[in-house]
Symmetry: C2
Subunit: 275 residues, 2 copies
């Protein structure tokens, strides 16, 4: 397996969101020799989609994904507002040439315990967005989130579940495989193989810390936790995945408090030395 | 589905561990009309196994389980110390007439990222304990723990994974199904059906709070969270499960700070009114 060189890395802008606005993150990624970025929509809209697209292009960076569409359950029904917001996300992904639109699909509807109902709503929403995304040439990447987010962020919680949805919805939809969300799954290798190259649309890196002190914002730098990242990278690359290794670290008490140039240098060192 | 009356409830003594030693918990469960208790080993040993057995029997209570054996990975190898401790757990379960010995199997070995290796060690350990448990007439209940505990508490994280182990190990071993650990699983209903009456050895109740502020000690009282408990109870009872509904609430900032008699009254009310 090849060592990950900087040009094989993508900076998910969540990793430096406390320090850098999107223009600075694009500039930082380019300065450090990263091959790409993956912006978040709030940052993208703050900078302006066209302006961001131009800056990314001029910096010679790829876009490994746009974070994020989804949240189909947010209003308790699949409203036009939710559908329209996902269409805008598709348009934004197209405008910046994103390899995929990453979907955080939403958890339970407000004041509901109906998990099966939420999952049905999510699948209907994904079908709607997929129809539009095909016309725009944008690939949809369902991100199965760790089961600890089933209630409040995403009710798609395993690769198997996401692939079952992909099977039903057909072409143009696949997965964003984030090691943080999938590493624990006894079925992870089998599902990576099942996904195959066509449906492995993104590969996200960070680490699971022991202990984890916050369920949302205590992710680790690769190598500081317990995930066997090389093992998972080997599995996705064995399927032919050739996208960038996207680094996405939510870390309120550690990495978000550091000099962002040091964060990027650390990412480069860990990617080369461990991942 | 019948309403849960107090005699259909078991008090897992973790629920009142901040307030009551085991003798007080036994007395409290009996006073409130519960049908059983489920002690933790540290409390059992503090009271004395024989003394506890006598008190439980005199109070007319059943024992829905003993918490807990397992932790096969604690020493990085399946040592005699670990095996012996599990034999003692079996002996204790037999002495108090527990319906099963609940297994929290252990997570990754210390300083290890080898999840598959941990799982192999766990299965070997379970096989060893099962051999002994059969001679003692004690049933072994694997408790699949929520995937957020895969690293540090239990690397058996789904019912399917636990049942695969049961399939390989044969008779005398089944599951403790705790709604907190399994509610998110898209496969939960299918796996409850697969388990069947013979392998559904315990059914644990509490709730998943939104937000959850602590990964270990912020479980909710039934009805305060998002788990559709009646739906899961119906599924296990449809398989013929006729054991007690064991209530196990780890709650450092809420229920552990309350008058334990009020806690038991609340359990009775919620069990009757919602579960």
């Amino acid at each position: 397996m090849d060592v990950i060189t900087p040009e094989r890395l993508s900076l998910n802008t969540a990793t430096t969101r406390a320090q850098w606005t999107l223009d600075k993150a694009i500039d930082g990624a380019a300065r450090h020799g990263f091959g790409g970025v993956s912006p978040w929509r709030d940052q993208l809209q703050a900078l302006g989609v066209e302006k961001a697209a131009r800056q990314i292009s001029e910096a010679g960076l790829a876009v490994s994904g746009l974070c994020r569409g989804g949240w189909y359950t947010a209003e308790g029904a699949l409203t036009q507002t939710v559908i329209d917001d996902n269409r805008r996300a598709v348009d934004e992904a197209a405008a910046i040439g994103a390899a995929c639109l990453v979907m955080v699909v939403g958890g339970l509807a407000p004041r509901s315990r109906d998990l099966e109902g939420a999952r049905a709503m999510i699948e209907e929403g994904l079908a709607t967005t997929l129809d539009y995304a095909k016309t725009a040439g944008v690939k949809i990447a369902i991100e199965p989130l760790h089961p600890m987010y089933a209630a409040d962020r995403a009710a798609v919680n395993t690769m198997a579940q996401a692939l079952d949805i992909c099977d039903r919805l057909g072409d143009g939809i696949g997965l964003a495989a984030d090691v943080y969300h999938i590493w624990w799954d006894p079925d992870v290798k089998a599902q990576i193989a099942r996904a195959g190259k066509e449906r492995l649309l993104a590969f996200h890196l960070c680490d699971w810390l022991v202990p984890t002190t916050d369920m949302l914002n205590d992710r680790g730098m690769m190598g500081d936790g317990v995930i066997d990242i090389p093992d998972l990278r080997q599995a996705v690359e064995a399927e032919g995945f050739a996208g960038l290794n996207e680094v996405e670290i939510f870390s309120a008490e550690n990495w978000w408090k550091r000099d962002p140039d040091d964060v990027l240098e650390t990412i480069i060192a860990r990617a080369a030395g461990w991942c």
